[in-house]
């Protein structure tokens, strides 16, 4: 009883975390658009396109619930085949959405005349690149 309650809590916690990562991704994108509209200096972080990937967990959960509900009797084989295709589509879609949205921000940056500054801040697992309309405004090292 205790174990299943703990499992359910962990599932809810991690799915909430996955949704939080997705919200964080879109919030960052919105923040970048606001910066493009209002500021001459925009900071871009590498790897943020992959923030949607944790959504695979709620998708896996939904798929397993659907399987338990609808995959019975004669429909089982057909349902499982369809589920396999859906899973592949979802994985590809999550990665693709992240990259497309990120690419949209980059193309807006280019359209607005932003250029990459020389200073790139390297952290252990990500890099931050500054974009500015006027290279004189670029931060120094």
């Amino acid at each position: 009883m205790m174990r299943s309650a703990l499992k359910a809590t962990l599932v809810v916690l991690f799915e909430a975390m996955a949704i939080a990562f997705a919200i964080f991704f879109f919030w960052r994108v919105q923040q970048q658009y606001t910066a493009i509209a209002q500021s001459a200096l925009v900071e871009m972080q590498s790897g943020s396109a992959l923030l949607l990937l944790p959504l695979i967990l709620p998708i896996l959960h939904l798929m397993s619930i659907a399987e338990a509900r609808f995959a019975n009797g004669a429909h089982q084989a057909k349902f499982r085949k369809m589920q396999s295709r859906f899973f592949i589509v979802f994985v590809v879609m999550l990665v693709a959405i992240g990259f497309v949205v990120n690419q949209m921000v980059f193309s807006t940056l280019n359209e607005q005349g932003y250029q990459a500054c020389k200073l790139v801040v390297h952290q252990t697992r990500t890099t931050f690149t500054f974009y500015s309309k006027d290279l004189a405004l670029c931060p120094e090292a």
Partner: protein, 250 residues
């Protein structure tokens, strides 16, 4: 005699090389290294070593079982078995339908959330073993950096690597309980690991956690070792002044 032989063979098998450089030689080495390599990129690559190893593991499972290949963990007589669904003839390594969870083939492919957790820990160790020496080397060849910055950077890096590994392992465990898709736990772990790493780096940059830690350590050093050094200097100065005064009176 036999013991001596064992020791010599052990020493030979664990041979280490130590290179001692003069300051001039080291300066030359540092200049050559920084002009030929981008240490920031090298450190970044070292930092994502654990993610790269997770992705490699995921691709191995997908190669063997397919993206949606199913594996169920069953406990029979206190022994864990991995039961694989689908046609075994299509698989290259796992040609049976049921394996003990401790079977080397299953362990190698990290099927099941416990195995994924172990693989994550191995990946994190790999990241630490590569990223820490890279950070030390980068700080050695950078002119404007302090020992406290090196310690602070390594400390926050270790926390970030540890946290992302912990969350990735948790995600693998949760995925293992909600799905029978064999690649599910490792894909969830990769996704959560990367997302956590990116988020932690953003939080560190935004809130200046590493800088705050370095500043706190600098202040602590000033209050302890720095204060002690100042006291010693003051004592020495007073001692010399006293000695000079006594000499003058004579």
């Amino acid at each position: 005699m036999a013991d001596n032989n064992i020791d010599i063979s052990r020493m030979n098998s664990e041979r280490k090389e130590l290179h001692i450089l003069s300051m001039e030689q080291f300066a030359e080495f540092a200049t050559t290294l920084s002009s030929h390599t981008n240490m920031d990129n090298a450190r970044f690559t070292a930092g994502i070593a654990s993610q790269l190893s997770d992705v490699r593991l995921a691709s191995q499972i997908i190669d063997e079982l397919g993206l949606t290949g199913k594996a169920v963990i069953k406990e029979v007589n206190n022994r864990s078995y991995v039961v694989l669904k689908g046609y075994p003839g299509l698989r290259e390594k796992l040609t049976g339908t049921r394996y003990l969870a401790s079977n080397p083939k299953v362990v190698d492919l990290a099927i099941g959330h416990k195995r994924v957790g172990n693989a994550m820990a191995k990946g994190a160790r790999l990241s630490i073993f590569i990223a820490v020496p890279m950070t030390v080397l980068q700080f050695l060849i950078t002119e404007q950096s302090t020992l406290m910055r090196l310690v602070g950077t390594i400390a926050t890096d270790l926390v970030k690597i540890g946290l992302s590994t912990l969350i990735a392992s948790g995600a693998a465990m949760v995925a293992g309980t909600i799905t029978t898709i064999a690649a599910g736990p490792i894909i969830a772990a990769v996704g959560f690991g990367i997302a956590t790493a990116v988020t932690l780096e953003y939080l560190d940059r935004t809130f200046g956690v590493t800088d705050a830690l370095v500043n706190a350590m600098e202040k602590a050093k000033q209050r302890t070792i720095g204060e002690l050094a100042r006291q010693i200097v003051t004592f020495e100065r007073n001692f010399i002044n006293d000695a000079v005064r006594r000499m003058q009176f004579r």
